[in-house]
Symmetry: C2
Subunit: 229 residues, 2 copies
C-alpha cells in the first residue's frame, strides 16, 4: 500500500510504461451538411477513466467524439467525429497494452450522406437508409496479430443489463464488459454517478452506485492488476 | 440620433413596450432513449438577436433548444428540446408584436420513438420512418386571429440561397426572411460571421459579410422601424 502510494507520488505508478487507448464521448454521423445523428453520451465516464489511467502512470491516447465534458489533463487527445474515424484513430494508436472502449459509438451511419441540405417537399417524407458502422470493439478484440492484451468494452443497456452485456462480451470477443443501466430516470447519461457491473470470463461483479470518477479509479486499478499479471 | 442615443441610455429605447419572441438554437428529436437527430446550429445568431432586441428596450421571450452559445442577459429564457415543444412555447408567449424564428427547427421527427434502446441485430438494419413536425414559422405567419404584426423567418440554404429563400417567404406567409448560406466552407454554422440577404415583399437586400452581432443589431433596428411604422 505504502510502496504503491510512493510509486504513484513519484509519477511512476503501476501503469508506468504501459500504453492505453481510451475511446470516449458520442460519435456524430452526418445526414446532410446541417443535420446529424448522435447520442446523449456526455463523455464524463470516459474522461474519468482517462484521468485515472494517467494518474497511475499510463501513457494514454484519448480518442474522443464531441463530448460535453472536457478531456482530462495529461493524455494525448485525438478528436474525431464519426465511428469510422474513431476506428482509424484507435488503429493508428496501436500497439497498446490495453484498449478501453468507453465511447458511445453509433451502430449505424446514414448510407448516403446528402451533399446539399435535404429540402422539405410538401407531402413527401424523407427515408433514411442506414449502413452498419465498423464495430470498433469487435475489430480490436478479434485482431489476429497484435491484439492488445486487454480489451474492455462498455454496454449501455436499458433492459436486462447483465444478460445483454454478457451476450455482448461473448459476441465481441473482448475481455471485460463494463455494463451500465442508462434507462431514463437512472440519470447515468449526463449525470455524475454510475451503477456498473463488470463482466469477465469468470463471472460478474456488481459494483455499488458510485461517482463516475470512483468507477474510473477502481477500473484503472483493476487494469493495472491485469496488465501486471 | 442624439435623442435615440439618450432614449437607449435611459433604458427606454425604440422597442420599449414591445414584446418580441425569438426562437434560437437547434431542436433535438429523439430516436430512442439514447439516440437523437439534431443539427449544427450553435445558437449564436439567435442569441445575438435576443441581445440586440433587449438592448433596444424590447421585452424578449427567448425560446431555445440546447445550444452551444448561452442565452443573452436580460431576456426571459424558455428551454425546449423538440420542434413541437418549441411551437407550444411560442404560442404560449403570444400575443407579441413580433416573432423572430431564428432556430434551426427539425422538419421531421422520428414517427415512433422507441421506448428502449434499439438493439443491433446481425444483418438487420434499422429503418426510421419520419413524421412531419409542425411548421412554427408557417403556423405563426398564418394565424387567423392575433397574428403578430411582424413575423421573421430564417432560411439556412446550401444552394440558390436567394431563390430558395424567396420561395420560402411566399410559402410560409411570413413578412421577412433572413437568408444565409450555410454550405460547408462558409463557416456560418459555429462561426462568428454571417452573410445574409433580407427578403421582403418589396425586394431583396444583400448585406455584406459581418459579425453575427452586427447582423443582429442591424436587424433589431429594422424591426424597431417596422413596428414604429
Amino acid at each position: 500500500e505504502i510502496a504503491a502510494a510512493i510509486e504513484d507520488a513519484m509519477g511512476r505508478g503501476p501503469l508506468a510504461g504501459k500504453r492505453v487507448v481510451v475511446t470516449s464521448g458520442p460519435t456524430v454521423e452526418p445526414i446532410d451538411p446541417v443535420r446529424y445523428i448522435s447520442n446523449h453520451s456526455s463523455g464524463a465516464q470516459g474522461a474519468a477513466i482517462g484521468r485515472a489511467l494517467a494518474g497511475l502512470g499510463a501513457e494514454v491516447v484519448f480518442v474522443t467524439g464531441p463530448a460535453q465534458v472536457a478531456p482530462p489533463e495529461g493524455v494525448e487527445v485525438v478528436r474525431i467525429t464519426t465511428a469510422q474515424q474513431m476506428l482509424d484513430a484507435v488503429q493508428a494508436a496501436l500497439p497498446a497494452d490495453a484498449v478501453i472502449c468507453a465511447a458511445a459509438v453509433a451502430d449505424w451511419r446514414v448510407a448516403e450522406v446528402a451533399a446539399s441540405k435535404m429540402k422539405k417537399t410538401k407531402g413527401a417524407l424523407p427515408t433514411l437508409s442506414f449502413a452498419e458502422n465498423p464495430d470498433i470493439l469487435a475489430t480490436i478484440s478479434q485482431m489476429k496479430k497484435g491484439r492488445p492484451p486487454l480489451v474492455v468494452g462498455f454496454a449501455a443497456e436499458t433492459d436486462d443489463v447483465v444478460a445483454n452485456a454478457t451476450a455482448k462480451r461473448a459476441r465481441k470477443g473482448c475481455d471485460w464488459i463494463v455494463a451500465n443501466d442508462v434507462s431514463p430516470g437512472t440519470g447515468t447519461f449526463g449525470g455524475a454517478e454510475n451503477t456498473v457491473h463488470i463482466i469477465r470470463e469468470d463471472g460478474v461483479e456488481d459494483w455499488p452506485r458510485m461517482g463516475k470518477q470512483e468507477v474510473a479509479d477502481r477500473l484503472a486499478r483493476r487494469i493495472a492488476e491485469a496488465l501486471d499479471g
